[in-house]
C-alpha cells in the first residue's frame, strides 16, 4: 500500500469496502516509521499497538459499522493524553507519565475508526517550534534533515507516516511547523476542539489543530474532531458544521486583506518575501480581490502573546512539582524538593520562560505589564474583527522564514520568538487560521496563512480548496531522501 499517493478520504472508502487492506496499511506504516527513524519524528510508536488497532477496526467493519475515519493513520502530539501510550510532553518531567484517561479528542478519533499510530515529538510542553528543548532531541525536517521540522506532527504528515496529525497550536506552533514541512494545517476557532485531556501551557490561547496533505482531508478530520464537550468548559457550545460536505460549494466572490505592515519584520527572509508577493499575484489572477489594509496593532501581537502565555505557563505548569506529577529530585525539605525536581527536569528554555511568567505575575509588574497585555489583546481582537467584517480573509505569510537550521541562532532563548510574527494575532483573538504550503525559489516549503472570522472555518477550507485546485499538486519529499 503506497500511502504517499492516497488521500484520507480515498483510503477510508477503500478500507470500508475491503477490510483486508488494513494489513498492508499497517505494514506500510511500520516501514515508513523504520525508514524515517533518523528524523526523530516519533516519541512513541509500537507495532503491536498498531496491529491491535487494525484488528479492532477490522472487527468493527465486519459487524457492519462504517466509521467516518476508518483506517486513516493519525498521529498525536505528545501532550495529548492517551491511556495506551505514555504522554511525555517531550519533557524529562513527564518521561514516565501514563495518563489514567485519554483525551476527549482521542476517544472521538477512535470511535470514528482512525488508527492512532503514534505520539510525535515537539518542543517541551509545546512551547515554540524553532528551538531545541525536546527531551528527545530535535525533530528533523524531511525536506532537509539539518533543518528543524518544528514538530513531529507536521513531519509525520509530510513523510506519509500519517495522513492526519493533531497537535496544539498556542501562539502558532502547528501552523509554523506545517509551513516548515510543506503541509496544510488548520487551527480552528478557540474552543472548537475539546482540550479535555490536553496538557496545555497557555490555556487561553491553546487550541488543538490538524495537519493533512489535502484540504478535503483537513475538513474530514476537523469534522470528526470538533464539537462541544461538557468536560471542557471553554469548548464552544455550538455544534461544528459538516465541513466536508460544505466544502464544494465555495466558488463565490472572495475579498482578501493583507496587512500593510506584513513585510516590516527584521526576520523576514527574502525567499519568503518573494514567495508571498508571487502568491498574491496568483491569487489576484484567480479572481480573488486583494487589498492592503492598515492594521496598526497586528505587529503588537507577539509582544502581548509572549507576556500572556508566560504568565499562564507559570500557573499551568505549577503542578509539575514532583508530587502531583513528574519525576522527583532528591531533597531534604518539601520546598527544596519542588525546586530540585523542576530544575533537574525542565529545559533551560522552559525554566527561563516560567521565570519570566513569575516575574510578570509579581505585584510590581502584574498591572503594569500583564493587564496591559490583556488590553492590547482586546485591541488586536477588535481590529481583526473590524477587518473581517469587510473582508472574507486576511492573508499573510505563516512564518517570516523557512525551516531554521537545527542548532542555529534560533535555538537561542527568545521571549519574543520571531516565528510568531504572523501567527500570534489570530491566536490571541481566538480566530481560525489555516496554513497552505507554498515554495520559495530555493525549493524549500513556506506557508501562506489565511485568517478567518471566528467560528467560520468553512470559509478558510473553501478558500484553501480553491488555492489547491488552481495549481499543480503539492510536493512532498521522496522517501529515499529521508
Amino acid at each position: 500500500m503506497n500511502l504517499r499517493d492516497i488521500t484520507a478520504a480515498e483510503l477510508t472508502a477503500q478500507v470500508t469496502n475491503d477490510s483486508g487492506l488494513l494489513k498492508p496499511v499497517s505494514e506500510s506504516l511500520y516501514d515508513l516509521h523504520e525508514k524515517g527513524r533518523d528524523l526523530n519524528v516519533f516519541i512513541s510508536f509500537d507495532k503491536q499497538h498498531l496491529e491491535q488497532e487494525t484488528a479492532a477496526l477490522a472487527a468493527r467493519l465486519a459487524r457492519g459499522e462504517r466509521p467516518s475515519l476508518a483506517g486513516i493513520p493519525a498521529v498525536l502530539a505528545d501532550n495529548i493524553c492517551t491511556v495506551f501510550y505514555p504522554t511525555t510532553c517531550a519533557s524529562k518531567m513527564l518521561a514516565e507519565y501514563r495518563p489514567p484517561f485519554s483525551a476527549r479528542l482521542v476517544e472521538s478519533l477512535q470511535q470514528k475508526g482512525a488508527l492512532i499510530t503514534g505520539k510525535t515529538n515537539m518542543e517541551e510542553f509545546g512551547l515554540g517550534c524553532s528551538g531545541n528543548s525536546s527531551h528527545y532531541g530535535v525533530a528533523k525536517n524531511p525536506w532537509e534533515a539539518e533543518r528543524t521540522a518544528g514538530s513531529g506532527a507536521a513531519a509525520a504528515v509530510s513523510t506519509s507516516s500519517a495522513l492526519l496529525a493533531f497537535a496544539t497550536d498556542t501562539v502558532g506552533e502547528l501552523r509554523q511547523s506545517a509551513s516548515f514541512c510543506g503541509v496544510l494545517a488548520i487551527r480552528p476557532s478557540y474552543g472548537r476542539i475539546s482540550r479535555s485531556g490536553v496538557i496545555d501551557y497557555a490555556s487561553s490561547m491553546e487550541q488543538v489543530g490538524v495537519a493533512a496533505r489535502t484540504t478535503t482531508d483537513l475538513a474530514l478530520a476537523l469534522e470528526a474532531a470538533a464539537g462541544p464537550d461538557p468536560r471542557d468548559p471553554t469548548s464552544l457550545k455550538a455544534e461544528a458544521p459538516p465541513y466536508a460536505s460544505l466544502l464544494e460549494s465555495g466558488e463565490g466572490k472572495l475579498k482578501a486583506a493583507v496587512p500593510e505592515s506584513w513585510d516590516r519584520t527584521s526576520g523576514l527572509e527574502d525567499g519568503v518575501k518573494d514567495c508571498f508577493q508571487s502568491e498574491l499575484e496568483q491569487i489576484k489572477a484567480m479572481g480573488i480581490e486583494v487589498d492592503f489594509v492598515e492594521l496598526k496593532h497586528f505587529r503588537e501581537a507577539p509582544l502581548a502573546a509572549a507576556v500572556i502565555s508566560a504568565v499562564e505557563a507559570f500557573s499551568n505548569l505549577a503542578n509539575m512539582d514532583g508530587v502531583r506529577f513528574g519525576c522527583r529530585g532528591s531533597a531534604a525539605s518539601l520546598q527544596e524538593m519542588y525546586t530540585v525536581s523542576r530544575s533537574e527536569a525542565f529545559s533551560s528554555k522552559l525554566k527561563k520562560f516560567i521565570g519570566f511568567g513569575a516575574l510578570v505575575s509579581s505585584e510590581k509588574y502584574y498591572r503594569k505589564h500583564f493587564l496591559k497585555s490583556q488590553r492590547m489583546r482586546t485591541r488586536i481582537k477588535d481590529e481583526l474583527a473590524a477587518c473581517l467584517e469587510e473582508y472574507d480573509l486576511l492573508l499573510t505569510p505563516t512564518t517570516p522564514f523557512a525551516a531554521p537550521l537545527a542548532g542555529g541562532s534560533l535555538d537561542a532563548f527568545h521571549l519574543l520568538d520571531p516565528a510568531n510574527f504572523y501567527t500570534a494575532a489570530p491566536a490571541l483573538a481566538g480566530l481560525p487560521a489555516l496554513t497552505f504550503p507554498v515554495y520559495t525559489d530555493d525549493g524549500l516549503p513556506a506557508g501562506l496563512q489565511l485568517i478567518g472570522e471566528t467560528g467560520d472555518e468553512t470559509a478558510l477550507l473553501r478558500a484553501s480548496l480553491r488555492l489547491e485546485k488552481g495549481r499543480s499538486p503539492l510536493k512532498f519529499p521522496e522517501p529515499g531522501s529521508m
Binding site: Q207, R231, M337, L415
Partner: protein
C-alpha cells in the same frame, strides 16, 4: 529575578539569570513604548472567545481507581502520595 525564580520553583544559574534579565528588559521597554492612555478604556481579554465560562452538570460520577490515581506518583504508600516532611526540624 531571584524572587521570580523562587516563585517559579526553579534554579537559574548566573548565565540564565542574565539572559532572562536582558530579554525581560527588552519586552518591558517595548510594552512601555505603548501609551497607557490608548488602552485605559479597554477591558482586558482573558480568553479567545467571549462565551461565558460554564460548569458541567453536577452529577455524581465514579472516581478514578486508587491504583490509577497513584500510578504516576513519584512516591506513594498504599493510599497516599508520600512527600518530604513539611515542618522542618
Amino acid at each position: 529575578m531571584e524572587r521570580a525564580a523562587w516563585d517559579a520553583r526553579v534554579k537559574l544559574n548566573s548565565e540564565e539569570t542574565n539572559e532572562l534579565l536582558e530579554h525581560s528588559r527588552l519586552v518591558f521597554e517595548q510594552l512601555d513604548s505603548i501609551p497607557e492612555s490608548e488602552l485605559d478604556t479597554l477591558q482586558a481579554t482573558c480568553y479567545g472567545h467571549s462565551q461565558p465560562n460554564t460548569v458541567r452538570e453536577d452529577t455524581e460520577e465514579a472516581s478514578l481507581p486508587l491504583s490509577l490515581s497513584l500510578g504516576n506518583a513519584p512516591d506513594a504508600d498504599e493510599s497516599c502520595f508520600r512527600v518530604p516532611r513539611i515542618i522542618e526540624e
